[in-house]
Amino acid sequence: MLFFLDPQSGVPYYRQLMEQVRLHVSTGSLTAGDELPSIRALAVILGVNPMTVSKAYGYLEAEQLLERRPGRPLVVRVQTNEQLEIGRLERLRESLLDASTLSRRLDISADDALSVFRDLLNESPPDHGREEDPS
């Protein structure tokens, strides 16, 4: 499972971590019953104060995304299809926040902004495989 922290971002580490767990659940790379790394293990891997990890886990537990079991690692809770759907849209919304702020500042109409987004959606995704393929 991939977690990373961006020291340049203005977002506190615990919030970065929360967003990444949510994203893993939304993309399906973490599913119901999957275990999260222990607080100590993740704190050491990321090189952060264990409180940071524990804070992120605590909030995610309160959001009903994670489940605590005594003496065991936290696991991902069972999500209804509706919850997963809401989660997916919420992740997209999160990443569009900056774009919408910029759009307003540039005085771009909602219609024009939507058509830019539609174009981007229709573009074929960049082919990441090509350069890495040794053959």
Partner: protein, 297 residues
């Protein structure tokens, strides 16, 4: 429980300006304090007062409830200390250093020491003089935490280490923190390290505590405002606004640090200054530090 208490500390070296002026700081058990400030701001002086190495002209210090100058040995036995300037005796071997520390600290834990020794792959028979800078610092850290101190004091502990050695040092400190819940006071110029490890930031500037805030609040509760230079006396106008900590002009733009969340700050500034071109950004700790000290001389 209060692990560390400075009350109204004033300290001046002979014939000089005060290095610390009326500094008060109280640290609860389990807190990790990242001490920031420019060179000469008074960080090391504060740390040396806590260690009982210096006596302040006025004010009181309590370390683990004791006066560090009163019961030097008793207090020292419950503290771990690593400093960039610390020098281990170069003629001694790693093994000799460990034997010496075991005899000095009644709580010395051979299991902890042994585990660290093998993780660091330290050559037990090698003389300190033959070790790399990174290895020597590992020995110092090992000696500082193997007696399971209640308080760990690190004064620029990763100074002069390469990034890989720094990260290794950080990871070991985090393991120690996670296993013991020890209180940590550390100073560093590596903002990224401070932000990773600290739960609370304390910034010393001109002998006084300037910022004292939970780490997460610094990113969310402070921002950098960029204001185009317009009209007269904008500098003082900005400084007079509530929450403004520093202002400086660079290249036709005022850069001001505000204690305020960025969106709210921008809305307020646009209204107060009647200028729609104000921008407010949440920035990382390093940028914030540079703006703060640059805008407050």
């Amino acid at each position: 429980m209060k692990v560390l208490e400075f009350h109204d500390i004033t300290m001046a070296y002979e014939g000089g300006q005060p290095v610390l002026e009326g500094v008060s700081l109280s640290v609860e058990s389990g807190e990790v304090i990242g001490l920031l400030g420019r060179n000469g701001a008074g960080k090391t002086t504060l740390i040396r007062i806590a260690m009982g190495m210096l006596a302040p002209q006025s004010g009181t210090v309590r370390v683990l409830g004791e006066d560090p100058r009163g019961d030097l040995v008793g207090v020292r036995r419950r503290i771990g200390y690593v400093s960039e300037l610390q020098e281990l005796p170069s003629y001694m071997s790693v093994r000799d250093i460990l034997t010496l520390h075991r005899s000095l600290y009644p709580n010395w834990d051979d299991e902890v020491a042994g585990e660290l020794c093998s993780r660091f792959e330290l050559p037990a028979g090698a003389k300190i003089a033959k070790l790399s800078k990174g290895q020597a610092r590992q020995v110092a850290l090992l000696c500082a935490i193997s007696h399971r101190p209640d308080l760990l004091i690190l004064d620029e502990p990763a100074g002069g280490l390469d990034p890989a050695a720094r990260r290794e040092f950080l990871e070991t400190s985090i393991r120690h923190l996670s296993d013991t819940g020890s209180t940590i006071l550390f100073s560093s110029h590596h903002m990224a390290d401070v932000e990773r490890m600290a739960s609370r930031l304390v910034m010393v500037h001109d002998g006084q505590l300037w910022i004292d805030s939970a780490v997460d609040d610094v990113r969310e509760g402070y921002c950098l405002a960029l204001v185009p230079v317009r009209g007269t006396d904008l500098h003082n106008k900005l400084l007079a606004l509530p929450g403004c900590l520093s202002v400086r002009e660079r290249d036709g733009t005022f850069r001001a640090v505000f204690e305020c969340e960025s969106e709210a700050c921008r809305a307020q500034l646009v209204q107060d200054l009647e200028d729609p071109n104000v921008q407010c950004l949440s920035v990382g700790l390093e940028e914030m530090f540079i703006e703060l000290v640059g805008g407050r001389s």
